[in-house]
Symmetry: C2
Subunit: 203 residues, 2 copies
């Protein structure tokens, strides 16, 4: 156990779990240092204040999420070259992934920070914003590739459709969290998948 190397990561792990469980403000530095088995001084050595912690958490989360999407749709593309089917397979994989998580998805840091955003500085809010804009761009591109092959049955705003992926996931996670159920997010994704099938179905 090389303590030095990963104390920072350990802090982030503990903090992320706690924040997703009960929110940022409700998570005390006291319990983080207890969980990570370090002293308060040690915490402030790594993070200037709680804001710096929030920023680091968001950065890491966004990276992981992006890698996850990359991997998911790369696997989907291997299974089918057609852009529509690639998207449908990718969403199915995403839904399965959300469902497999035993205690339910930990919940999305994005929404969590969005609803407490005055706690954070501009840097954190910008990070949040950039992440969502990145996903908009990613999915918008994929939908445009689909539209090149399958003309949409109804006119849709491609930016908004791109946002809908994020929105459906975020919304599903809010429901899941509030209801204490475990599969709402994956069900919502499957419904969105049906939407795409209808929207891009050949006439």
């Amino acid at each position: 156990m090389d303590k030095k190397v990963d104390t920072r990561s350990r802090i982030l792990d503990i903090a992320e779990a706690a924040v997703l469980e009960k929110g940022f403000e409700a998570t005390s530095i006291e319990e983080i240092v207890a969980g990570a088995e370090i002293s308060r001084g040690g915490f402030f050595y790594h993070f200037k204040d709680k804001n710096a912690l929030a920023r680091a958490m968001l950065e890491r989360y966004i990276e992981v999420e992006n890698a996850l999407y990359d991997d998911l749709f790369a696997r989907a593309r291997e299974l089918n070259d057609d852009p529509l089917h690639c998207m449908l397979i990718g969403l199915k994989l995403l839904a399965e992934l959300l469902e497999e998580m035993p205690a339910g998805h930990p919940g999305c840091v994005i929404a969590s920070t969005a609803y407490q955003d005055r706690l954070f500085d501009q840097g954190v809010r910008d990070l949040n914003r950039q992440a969502i804009l990145g996903w908009r761009k990613r999915f918008r591109g994929m939908f445009e590739d689909i539209a090149d092959v399958y003309e949409p049955r109804e006119p849709v705003n491609m930016d908004a459709l791109g946002d809908m992926v994020s929105g459906v996931v975020e919304g599903g996670l809010v429901l899941q969290r509030a209801l204490g159920e475990h599969n709402n997010a994956s069900e919502q994704i499957m419904l969105f998948r049906t939407y795409l099938k209808l929207l891009f179905s050949p006439r």
Copy 2:
């Protein structure tokens, strides 16, 4: 200005605005009493603690939201008796309503409490849960009426479809809040409307 009658409501008004702007924990009793022009003692006369405030806020919010939906779909029904068109008109009205709000929708208390739920006691969480289940039932009923007339083009889980109304609104509000844009929620609703048009279109 009959101060006595509505001090409680005034506290709730101030608190709701503050909580929606920056989250529950970040809202201090200090600023609430300053805004409502009462003393700290006066606040605790009306609310045992912050939890009681949260509960009262949620109760009021849910009532308002339900009344809003009642009104919206009643007006839609006046315009068209057909269940599908009634739903489509209602969603259009909802989208317009969200867009008209000058500074954007204040954001949904449901999501806000969902992401900070360990701060609240069981009563508050149950209230939150019951509200969402109520909306599920409401919209599920409407979708079943539609399905009686228009057979869905693809099989869908009616509970999940009912949840999708709440989910799309919540998700849209998260995006709106995080992006600092103002019409994401209404755009998402309009996309969902297109979904329904495709799903229930006659063959």
